[in-house]
Amino acid sequence: MTPATVIRISGITKTYRIGSTEVQALRGVDLDVDRGEMLAIMGASGSGKSTLMNVLGCLDSPTAGSYRLDGVRVDGLPPDALADIRNGKIGFVFQGFNLLPRTSALENVELPLLYARHGGRRDTRAAAEEALTRVGLADRLHHEPNELSGGQQQRVAIARALVTRPAILLADEPTGNLDSITTLDVLALFQDLNEQGITVVIVTHEHDVARHARRVVELHDGRIVRDEPVGDRLRAATGAA
């Protein structure tokens, strides 16, 4: 494992038990993600891509296999340690934005900093403002989610993911709830952030979205069936919409 490797998983399996039947969502996945990569994980619904994302995001723990994040082994850690990793090392962006309702953009972005334990920044407000400026929402600091468009809400969510300066940005279908124009807008933002050196992993089922990444991994029935660089990469225009 070179220092450039941010994520290394090997032999990851995940089995859900629904009643008496067992569902194997992941059947042994090996994956390395290097620093500065922009990776798209593709797959049809039920292929296990969201499960893989939740494992990568330390929201769910694998049934078997090992997971190293930023050089630290994270599988089998107790819940509190996982919470700290989610807080410090991972920025997670959801399909449904998952912003706190009736809470301003600024306060939403501040949220992870409130739970920061070590090396937490003193001035959470300034840090949140900085992150919002970075996603182009400097003029929407005090708007609440219901006063923002879908694209803007997703930008707030991205700012929230960025504010703790994580090692990796994970996005689970980040454009799934957005129209085509704002989709490009958000993808442009991810590409910009990636060019600034942030490692980005995007889960999507859309080829057009995946083509904005540098590398595509395709899952089928809980296994990786394709892993290749993107040949005809698309570059979304910055500052659109």
Partner: protein, 405 residues
């Protein structure tokens, strides 16, 4: 996560649901308010009784004929009356601590004069009686030492007697006949009101004890001796001193029990206060039940809130909140809610106690201690009833909480 941030987060989420928060707090408000009112009313009743007992006089000692013991057979208090005017005079002469001593000779009498006649009690007392009972005349004056020594037939009327026999006029200078003996009225006492037992203290005629003994009572024994000390601190010592003087004048041997009882006001007050204390405790216990019900209301709402906000909990956990952070947040919320309810309850209770006080004509007393206790208790209710829902929230798994719809 810092405490201040927690309190802010809790306050914010409480304010987001104003109506629900208010309804939840209502239980605590009513509980705390009723505890405060009940305790205040009880306290007021006790103060009232204390005031009436103090109305007897200040720093008072009461000597009454006590249990006599003849040949090992106790005959009970007052069976053998051995308290004499001589005892009172001995106390007055020999005591260093008692500043005022007065015998009280009790002579029930038909008083005749003015408009008609009136059944009342004549008390044969000394000049000190006015001091001991802190009782002055509204018109005329009290009798003096010379009157006592000369056994003058002078009398001071209680307000009730004055009103009964001489309605609408000042009886000073007029005559009153007690057991056919004419007395000159030299003063009328100020209104004293009812005593702790509800008897009218103004239905009385005071006369020099020398005169009463010779003209009316015809015996040497007296109902009680009243005495007082300059300061309340002297009372215990004065009590012992009076007892030893009386044992000497009664020539009691060491093995004999006292044939008198020396009591102070506190002892009189304690007996009366015991009853109200039980009442207060009972009322406060009933009020406490409503506080408990209020607490269950908080728990109910917090449980609903945990379910309702499962997604929010998931979001918080996804960005790095630990289980303990979530636990603390919900706990702080319920405590803040309970405390706010408690604070409002204290204010409502204060107003309620005032209203009850006005309606009953009592001075009700809200003690800061009762308010502080009620507040502390409501915080306790918040912790106790908030803990289970908070635990439930903290135990959620982030992935499940996030998926919850």
């Amino acid at each position: 996560m810092k405490t201040m941030v927690l309190v802010r987060v809790a306050a914010r989420s409480i304010l987001k649901n104003k109506m629900r928060t208010l309804l939840t707090m209502l239980g605590i408000v009513i509980g705390v308010a009723s505890v405060i009112v009940m305790v205040a009313v009880g306290q007021g009743a006790r103060d009232q009784i204390r005031a009436r007992i103090e109305n007897l006089g200040t720093n008072l000692l009461v000597v009454t004929p006590g249990a006599s013991n003849a040949g090992g057979v106790s005959r009970g208090a007052g069976t053998f009356n051995r308290l004499t005017v001589g005892d009172a005079e001995a106390l007055r002469r020999e005591s260093l601590l008692l500043s005022a001593v007065s015998p009280v000779i009790f002579a029930p009498t038909q008083a005749v004069g003015g408009e008609g006649n009136w059944r009342t009690a004549v008390y044969g007392v000394s000049v000190d009686y006015a001091t001991i009972r802190d009782w002055s005349t509204s018109t005329g004056s009290f009798f003096d030492e010379a009157d006592v020594r000369a056994m003058r037939k002078v009398a001071v009327l209680g307000r009730t007697v004055a009103d009964a026999l001489f309605p609408g006029e000042d009886p000073v200078g007029r005559q009153i006949r007690l057991r056919n003996v004419p007395f000159e009225i030299i003063g009328v006492l100020e209104r004293k009101g009812q005593n702790a037992q509800g008897a009218d203290q103004d239905d009385v005629v005071l006369a020099p004890y020398t005169t009463v003994r010779n003209r009316l009572a015809g015996h040497m024994f007296i109902a009680q001796i009243l005495a007082s000390t300059p300061s309340p601190d002297d009372i215990p010592a004065a009590q012992r001193e009076a007892a030893s003087i009386l044992r000497e004048t009664h020539r009691l041997a060491d093995w004999e029990d006292d044939d008198f009882t020396v009591r102070d006001q506190t002892q009189l007050a304690e007996a009366a206060e015991g009853t109200t204390e039980v009442m207060t405790a009972l009322l406060a216990a009933i009020a406490g039940v409503s506080l408990l019900v209020g607490g269950i209301g908080i728990m109910n709402i917090m449980l609903v809130s945990v379910t309702e906000r499962t997604r929010e909990i998931g979001i918080r956990m996804a960005v790095g909140a630990r289980g303990s952070d979530v636990l603390t947040q919900f706990l702080v919320e319920s405590v803040v809610m309970a405390l706010a309810g408690g604070a409002i309850g204290v204010i409502v209770g204060y107003a309620g106690a005032e209203t009850v006080g006005r309606a009953m004509g009592w001075a009700t007393a809200v003690t800061p201690a009762a308010a502080a206790l009620a507040l502390a208790f409501s915080a306790g209710v918040g912790v106790f009833f908030g803990f289970y829902p908070a635990r439930k929230a903290a135990a959620l798994r982030p992935i499940e909480a996030l998926r919850y719809e």
